[in-house]
């Protein structure tokens, strides 16, 4: 993985000093609440329902064992012993004290981490495919490009006060595991007409109040122009994006109001005039960055399958929680953070430390955070999978549900977030209580349930096969259900099935949707595809045919 040099280290340390001074000035009354808000937000610090929330950047989701241990120590010392992984591969701490945040940042800096630009109207953490570098279908490892974008976007002087937040995702494989179509900018590594690799650039995707799927601005961009092209997009957005209405300030609204053609024309014109002076990607620099992501020293092994005699629990886990690796004899192994009685994405301090140890023992000392709020050991020997499973099982990290109904995405919701209208965590819990039969869950196959506590859509409900949105109805928590959304390369927005349902009715509503699927599906057809084939009506009819007995 990328390691800091003197430049990175200096910048992060100077940021800690800067933020320490800003916090001191705020506590001394020299900065107003509003002035400090603009500063702390660019350092990942929100003031939340119970306490401040600190979001720590995990660039493209990659963590070392050393970093995991540091996160565990921070969770224990400054928080209540746990952290929460987000859909953008970051981690959040929900209980730090404001005056201690500079110390937390100093501890993070020790392990080459920070909270720079994890919130605020600036370029956020660049996210990517959690299977980068190991998936057999990949054109090229996107992480060197992510690191290039990370550096370029960190303290970018022109783009630190944008109209609104700005999220970039980069993928290098046809299957999109980074939800890049619902990002402000999606960067796809693609092959050009003469076989060379370059980028397809999308813009204007996003969720929130106005969900929009990103559109292709440029079909093929030669690689040396990546940064100048991003600068052109950002400059058009910075100058022309709306600043008078927070709900209309994302780039998706600009793209929509100008129309794709006109937006593209302006970006291309800006690029033509500014690219000469901008930061061209240097071959030497990209080669230097690539060196950090060289494959680890794999052993020469043959593929093996779990033996017949091994426990069915292990075999189920192996089937659902591991996935193909490009190197024979290896698997990528998910650490499920979706245990039924735990909030999705939450992890304790001791679990963080255990994962650090297991990463060292089984996966070259590295772990990835997935967009779906799980962790991944990318490089596990197949013949060690059983040992690893046993260790994970003991720690409650082997729930065999990756990609299934109970592998739900959920935001922190009303329990923590000051924006939320409704709870997410307890709804996830109710769903888990209702659906605890793994034979049934496995029979349903691949299905993505995504839940947000408000229309800001941190839980990506619009792009869930089943989406659940918390709404406030005269002080009560209600839930609007959508079906047919998807976040991958075939991204689509879900359709609302009808009036929202009460909290206690959510599990039964989902059960009815699943009943229609089970009755109507064709062989090997996913829930999503059945919805796409049949439309919303049969599902809607079933859900609202009879009142739900709560």
């Amino acid at each position: 993985m990328y390691r800091y040099d003197v430049v990175d280290r200096t910048l992060v340390n100077e940021r800690v000093a800067q933020f320490r001074d800003q916090t001191r000035r705020f506590l001394a009354g020299q900065l107003t609440e509003d002035e400090f808000r603009h500063l702390r937000l660019r350092n990942g610090l929100y003031i939340q329902r119970h306490a401040p929330m600190l979001r720590v950047a995990i660039p493209y989701g990659l963590l070392s064992s050393t970093q995991l241990r540091a996160l565990g120590a921070i969770a224990r010392r400054y928080d209540r012993g746990y952290g929460h992984f987000t859909t953008r591969q970051n981690i959040q701490f929900n209980w730090p004290k404001l005056e201690q945040v500079p110390d937390i940042l100093a501890e993070l800096a020790e392990v080459e981490m920070h909270a720079i630009q994890t919130s605020g109207n600036c370029i956020r953490n660049t996210t990517s495919d959690h299977l980068a570098g190991v998936t057999p279908e990949e054109l090229e490892d996107p992480r060197p490009w992510c690191e290039l974008i990370r550096q370029w976007s960190t303290f970018h002087p022109e783009f630190t006060y944008l109209p609104r937040k700005f999220k970039i995702a980069v993928t290098g494989a046809p299957k999109d595991r980074a939800a890049s179509l619902v990002h402000d900018v999606g960067v796809h590594i693609v092959r050009g007409q003469s076989g060379e690799l370059g980028f397809e650039i999308l813009a204007g995707g996003g969720l929130g109040r106005t969900p929009i799927i990103g559109q292709v601005v440029r079909e093929f961009l030669p690689r040396e122009h990546l940064l100048t092209y991003l600068e052109a997009i950002l400059r058009v957005y910075n100058l022309e994006g709306r600043r008078d209405n927070i709900h209309k300030a994302r780039i998706k609204i600009l793209v929509r109001s100008l129309g794709l053609e006109e937006f593209r024309r302006r970006v291309e014109a800006e690029w033509e005039s500014s690219r000469g002076a901008g930061p061209r990607v240097d071959d030497g620099e990209i080669a230097r960055l690539r060196g950090f992501f060289d494959p680890p020293p794999y052993r020469r092994l043959a593929d093996t399958e779990p033996a017949e005699g091994q426990s069915t629990a292990f075999r189920a886990w192996y089937r659902y929680n591991t996935t193909a690796h490009k190197v024979p004899g290896y698997r990528a192994v998910y650490v499920s953070l979706k245990k039924p009685d735990v909030a999705p994405g939450d992890i304790t301090d001791s679990q963080l430390e255990l994962v650090a140890d297991l990463a060292e023992r089984y996966s070259f000392g590295e772990v990835r955070v997935t967009h779906t709020q799980n962790l991944l050991f990318a490089d596990v020997q197949q013949d060690k999978a059983f040992e690893l499973w046993q260790a994970l099982e003991k720690a409650g990290l082997a729930t065999p549900n990756i990609g299934t109904l109970t592998d739900m995405i959920a935001c922190p919701g009303l329990d923590f977030c000051s924006l939320a209208n409704a709870g997410s965590i307890d709804v996830a819990k109710h769903i888990n209580e209702r659906f605890d039969d793994y034979d049934y869950i496995y029979d349903l196959g691949e299905i993505e349930v995504k839940m947000s506590g408000c229309m800001n859509a941190c839980g990506h409900h619009h792009v869930g096969h089943i989406g659940i949105l918390g709404v406030d109805k005269s002080g009560e928590e209600w839930y609007q259900i959508t079906i047919g959304g998807a976040a991958g390369a075939d991204a689509s927005l879900g359709h609302v099935i009808g009036p929202s349902v009460a909290k206690t009715e959510v599990p039964e509503t989902i059960a009815r949707l699943l009943d229609v699927y089970v009755e109507q599906r064709r062989p090997d057809e996913r829930f999503l595809d059945t919805v796409r084939r049949l439309g919303v009506k049969p599902f809607k009819d079933r859900v609202y045919a009879a009142p739900v007995a709560a």
Partner: protein, 169 residues
Amino acid sequence: MPRRLLRDGLIVEDDWSYLAEAGDGAASALILSLTEWQSRRDSWIARVGRLGVWLLPAERVELLEPDLPRFSLIAADFPGPSEGRGYSQARLLREHWGFRGELRARGYVRRDQLFFMARCGFNSFELPDSDIENAAAALSTFSRAYQPSNDAGLALKPPLRSRSTPASA
């Protein structure tokens, strides 16, 4: 009391006046709004003395292009702490239009933004008295940067594209 500025890293008294403050007879160095400039362009050109112009965030810098050599100062206005268009205006003026005169940030300008402003090309800053004494230090908040800079006054490392620092350095 005359306005104080941070200009090229030093606190100085402002030798410019805005038309709205001074009237057109008084000051020799006068800053006009874009509208003021456009509405009486010919008479401003005939006037003796240095001219400056200040832009609202929504005003496009290209509008100044035909007259750029007439201005020895251009100011960008920051109406509040979330305003960011001035950063792009500055880079466009420096990089695309080659403006070499005084580039000033006015409005909501505080020490915490100075580093970014300077890197975009601003070299003078209208700061409140509460901030001005400590502001010069903010220009060296960071001793390194990943991006190319428009500020020759900041001694920063070479930009990202030519970086070759060994990891162990």
